[in-house]
Each structure stands twice: as C-alpha cells, then as structure tokens.
C-alpha cells in the first residue's frame, strides 16, 4: 500500500492511544509522583517500545520519523510517559543496536523491543555530566572480567529499567579515551538503586541514583571497544536529543492547544479573551515557533535515519530550539490562563514545570550552543 498511509495511520493510532491511555493519567501521575508502569505495559503490547528496531531483533522495523512522532504525541498529553519511551529507545536500545556485538544484540534487543525489559542509560555523576572526563566510576580489569565501583545520578527510568548502558573509567590516565561503556543488568550483584529524586516536573518519571559496589562485569558486557565509551555516549546523546526535542515539541503543542481552547471560553471585559489583540498576537507567535520547532525536530529525525554526518548539529539545534520554545509556550500559556493557569486544576501549570527539564537533561541549552558553535568555528 501507499507508504504515506503507514505514517497517517500510525499517527492516528498513537493519538487514540494517548487520548485513551495516557491523557487520563497525566494529572494523577504528576500529583502522586507515580511511574506509569501500566502504560509502559500497554505501550509494549502494541509495539511502541521497539518502533525503530529492525524486525530481526524483534522490533517493528519502523523508522525514526515514527518513533519521534510517538514521543511527540504522547508528550503532548504527558511528558512523563514521553520520556520513559525516549530514554528507553534512544539511550539504551539504540546504542546496543549500534555498538553491540551480534550476541549482545540477540541477548538484549528483542527483550527491550518487546517491552519485556525496560532500558536506561547512566553517564551523569555528581561531578561529571557532559564533561565526562571527571568520571569517578571505575572499572578495573581483572583479566576475564571488570570490577565496577561508583555512583550515577539523575538516571531516567532508574529503578524501573532492567538493563542499563553504563559508562566508567577503565584507564584514568587516558582521560576521555579511558572511558568504556558496559551493558549492566539490574540483577547484577552489587547493583542498587540509591536516592529517588523529587523533581519540579516530569514527576511520574523515575529519576534515581545508581550505586555500583564491586560489581563483577564479564568482558562480554563491554559495549563497543574499550576506551570508546565517550564517543558512544556522545553519539548516543546526539540521537537522544532528538527524542527530548520531540518531547519538548509535544509539551509546547499540548500547552498551545489547551490555551487556544481556554481563550475561547474565558470571558473578560464582555468578550472571550480570544477576541483581544494581545491574545491573538501572542498565540500567533507561539504557533509559529511551534511550527519552526517541528521542522527542526523532523529534520533531525530524518538526519539520524539517513546517518547524516551533520546529525550532531541538527540534533543540538532541534533540542535547543524545541526546549526553549516549550518553555516560552508553557510560560505564556500560564499567563494567558491568568490565575487559573497557576492552579493545578489546569494542565498548563504541569506543562510549564515539565518543559523546564527539556532545557537541562541530555545536554543543557548551553551545551547545545557549544555543539553548534563548535561545528561552526571548527
């Protein structure tokens, strides 16, 4: 059949799913800081946890466009649910697919794509985020295995994931080239979950500390080559940023939609506030920015699909622009809602808190500017 139909029906399906399964929970997940385990199971059932995974590894065999669209539509209703999907797919499934050995792919990807297992990624430490050379997690080569010790923080899907892509120093003297990536199962002795963060937004998403105490990691769990970890982390984040950009885009679209609905209903000075020029001009600007963000996000998704060498810059631009747009749109959405917008009765209040994280995680807006400027001035 006409391949356009596939995209059209995919969008229809994700919209229906979001309307029925995601949207009704969004408020409660935020209020109670509860992880949406039941929604993750439902996403697994229809194949949303392996959208762009090749069929030979148990995925649906779809593409980046479909995956990104799913994150966008789901995040429009619930950014918490959106990031569960994004972190799982971009930060765990993708690096295993791209850097894993055939055995590793066979062992992990089908279970992750089917949703039997959930995935996560651990790079950040108290003293090392994007600036990874300060990694305190150390993996010591013991001949046929490594012994891994250390701590990771701010890990999305922490405590809920079964498989983690973890980065640790294998040779401190080599700096960034001394970092190695490992595939770590949550059942590994010595692996434990530390503090669960209490956050401003995406409160249903589980963000935790990971603690590694004398974990014995067989050499077969090294992802990519020894010393290649930093490169893997940065390439993985290039892809992950498109997921976060899609999440931000979704939040912005959701807030805009809520606001358009509200300004038609809310009456002041004898007319709906939608009749006032200030409302109209603000909404026009916001809608234009949302559309521009959409173009950048889709272009970055296409670049990732096409293995475009300029992906890194495109992803950085998409995330920078979409996340700042999400922040601006949600901020002005609350403003147009007035006092009601500041209450938890209306979803824009949650959306504004949710938007903020998109300017921070998987590289802050400042880091995105460094990536973009770095490529310009090379």
């Amino acid at each position: 059949m006409n391949s356009q139909l596939k995209y059209e029906l995919f969008e229809k399906m994700v919209k229906e799913f979001t309307e029925n399964e995601v949207k009704p929970l969004a408020h409660e997940l935020d209020e109670t800081e509860r992880f949406p385990a039941e929604t993750v199971a439902k996403m697994a059932e229809i194949g949303l946890l392996g959208i762009n995974v090749p069929k030979q590894y148990g995925g649906a065999g779809g593409d980046m466009r479909m995956y990104i669209k799913a994150v966008e539509i789901i995040s429009k209703a619930c950014a918490t649910t959106g990031v569960v999907l994004s972190a799982h797919t971009s930060l765990c499934v993708t690096p295993i697919l791209e850097y894993g050995t055939e055995e590793q792919k066979q062992k992990y990807v089908p279970k992750l794509a089917s949703g039997e297992w959930l995935g996560a990624f651990g790079l950040t430490e108290p003293n090392a985020g994007t600036d990874a050379k300060n990694q305190q997690s150390i993996a010591v080569d013991m001949g046929d295995h490594y012994v891994l010790n250390g701590t990771k923080i701010f890990i999305t899907n922490g405590g809920k994931a079964n498989v983690y892509v973890i980065f640790a120093m294998t040779d401190k003297s080599l700096g960034l080239k001394g970092i190695t990536a490992f595939i770590v199962e949550a059942t590994t002795p010595g692996f434990s979950i530390g503090k669960k963060e209490l956050k401003m937004g995406i409160r249903g998403s589980s963000t935790t500390e990971l603690i590694f105490e004398n974990m014995i990691i067989p050499k077969s769990q090294v992802l990519g080559r020894v010393g290649e970890g930093y490169k893997i982390a940065m390439k993985t984040l290039d892809g992950g940023r498109i997921g976060i950009a899609a999440q931000a885009l979704g939040i912005a679209e959701g807030a805009l939609e809520e606001t358009v609905k509200y300004v038609k209903e809310r009456k002041q000075f004898g007319m709906p506030i939608a009749k006032q020029q200030n409302t109209q001009f603000v909404l026009a600007d916001l809608a234009t920015k949302v559309e521009a963000a959409k173009m950048l996000v889709y272009a970055a998704a296409d670049a990732k699909q096409a293995k475009d060498p300029t992906l890194s810059v495109k992803a950085a631009m998409a995330k920078l622009y979409a996340s700042e747009t999400a922040m601006e749109v949600t901020n002005k959405a609350v403003q147009l809602h007035g006092g009601y917008g500041y209450t938890r009765e209306y979803p824009v209040e949650r959306m504004m808190r949710d938007a903020k994280i998109t300017e921070i995680y998987e590289g802050t807006s400042e880091v995105q500017r460094m990536v973009i400027a770095g490529a310009l001035l090379r």
Binding site: L5, K6, E8, M13, I46, G50, G61
Partner: protein, 261 residues
C-alpha cells in the same frame, strides 16, 4: 478457520453536523472511521484467530478511500483485505449492498462471517442479516459474546436483548452480527503498520462478480428516501411553585401519565 469480517467506512458521526437547509449530512472535513460495531466484529475475529488459529479477511464495499479503513484493519491483525468498488455499485441501499457483498463472498472459503450490528451513518442493521439470507446461512444477530469449540466446530453465542439474553449454539458456516459492547477493539500494532508497505488491498469490480445488473447500485435499490429532517425538541416549559410534597405528587402523576413510570 476462515473468517470474513464485513466492515464499513463511515463518517465519524460524533463530529458530524446536519445542513439545516438541505437536511443532509455535512461530510466535508469530517474524519472517516471504521464503523464501531464492525471494528468490534474484527476484534472478535482476531481473538478467535489467536485462540484457535484462523485466516481473517476483511471485506468492504465503498469508494477507493475505504482502503484506509482496510489498512487499519490489516494493521490491527487481519490477514487479507478486499475492497468492492465500482461505479456500478454506487447508490446502493441495504438490499443492493447485501446482494453485492453476498455475490463477492460466494466464491470465497469461509466458516464464519462477522458483521457489525449496524452502521452509525444509516443505523439500519439490515446488511448483515440480508447477506446471511442471500447465502442461505444460519445467522445470529446482536451477539455480545462468541465462543468456539474447536472439536465440535460449534460456536456458542450470547445474543443480547434489551431485557435479557439467549445463549445459542450454531455450526459454521454461519453469520453473526456483533454489538460494539462485545469487546474493546485493539489498537493497530506498530509492526502491522510497518508491514502495510508490503500489503495490497484486493480490488473487486463489477466484472469480478457473477450477478445481474438489475440488482446493483441505485437501480437495484427499492429504498426511496422521502424526507430527512432534524428532530425538533419541543420542551413545553411550565413553571409551578409548590411545596415539596405536592411537587413530588405532581411529578409522579405527570411521569405516570406519560407512561414513563
């Protein structure tokens, strides 16, 4: 087991408006959906397929754009899709439609035919039962539960009425019309959607059917629409100030008078 599911693409009537001048449906810009009862019928078929193994064929009659509804059915898990489309079929009422569909089914293998109870655009509930008559098949309408015994090849069907139900047993081949309350249709599967790239809807035209011209399309349709109109609500308001005991008596008497209690 071979299952054929009859499926109609309809305008989403929850969004539809009626033109006050012409009294016809304003279809412009209204999304088309799979008729809800038919979608449930497909779900019943897919559940039978999962439990007992079956090949599920979805069949629709309509314009070329109904391919989209069939694509959705394929993405939900149907194995094969057929679209009956030809200018000769246009303007068909329930009789002409059921004869055309029966003519198409005649040449196909089947153990079970499932249709939705009725379509939300016409609400006739006639096409399913008529197909069964043309094919001389036993039929059970208003099915809300469907079981199957693979050894005896007998279907056990719960038939829902307003005030009760029947449990009926029927041997295939037979036809069931199902209620949308029977079960919740599944979402399309991502894999099913990706696989649409390699699937085609089989198109059947006038020339593929063995049937007389007189029974097709507008010519074969005895139904004549005399008038369509928007129902006017006559509220007939009356304001009375009474004490609560008297008010209760009056309300009860009025409801009784109107045979509502």
């Amino acid at each position: 087991m071979e299952i054929i599911v009859c499926l109609k693409q309809v305008p989403n009537t929850t969004e539809i408006k009626i033109d006050p001048v012409t009294n016809t449906l304003k279809r412009d810009g209204v999304e088309s959906i799979i008729n809800p009862d038919d979608k449930t019928g497909l779900e019943v078929a897919l559940q039978l397929k999962e439990q007992f193994g079956a090949r599920v064929t979805v069949l629709s009659m309509g314009p070329q754009q109904a391919e989209k509804a069939l694509g959705e059915a394929l993405a939900m898990g149907a194995d094969h899709a057929i679209l009956l489309t030809d200018r000769a079929f246009a303007g068909a009422d329930t009789l002409a439609t059921s004869k055309t569909i029966a003519a198409a089914i005649k040449g196909m293998p089947y153990d079970l035919i499932i249709a939705g109870r009725q379509a939300i655009d016409g609400d006739t509930a006639q096409v399913g039962p008529e197909i069964a008559e043309h094919l001389d098949l036993p039929q059970i309408s208003y099915a809300c539960e469907v079981g199957y015994n693979a050894d005896t090849k007998v279907f056990t069907v719960k038939r829902q009425f307003e005030d009760g139900y029947q449990i009926l047993e029927v041997e295939g081949p037979c036809l069931l019309t199902v209620l949308s309350t029977a079960c919740k249709p599944r979402y399309m599967r991502v894999k099913g959607l990706v696989d649409l790239d390699n699937k085609e809807v089989q198109i059947l035209r006038r020339s593929d059917l063995v049937i007389e011209d007189e029974v097709l399309g507008l010519k074969g349709s005895p139904t004549k629409v005399k008038q369509t109109f928007n129902k006017q609500y006559n509220t007939n308001k009356q304001k009375l100030v009474l004490d609560p005991a008297e008010a209760a008596k009056l309300i009860a008497a009025t409801l009784k008078d109107k045979h509502l209690i």
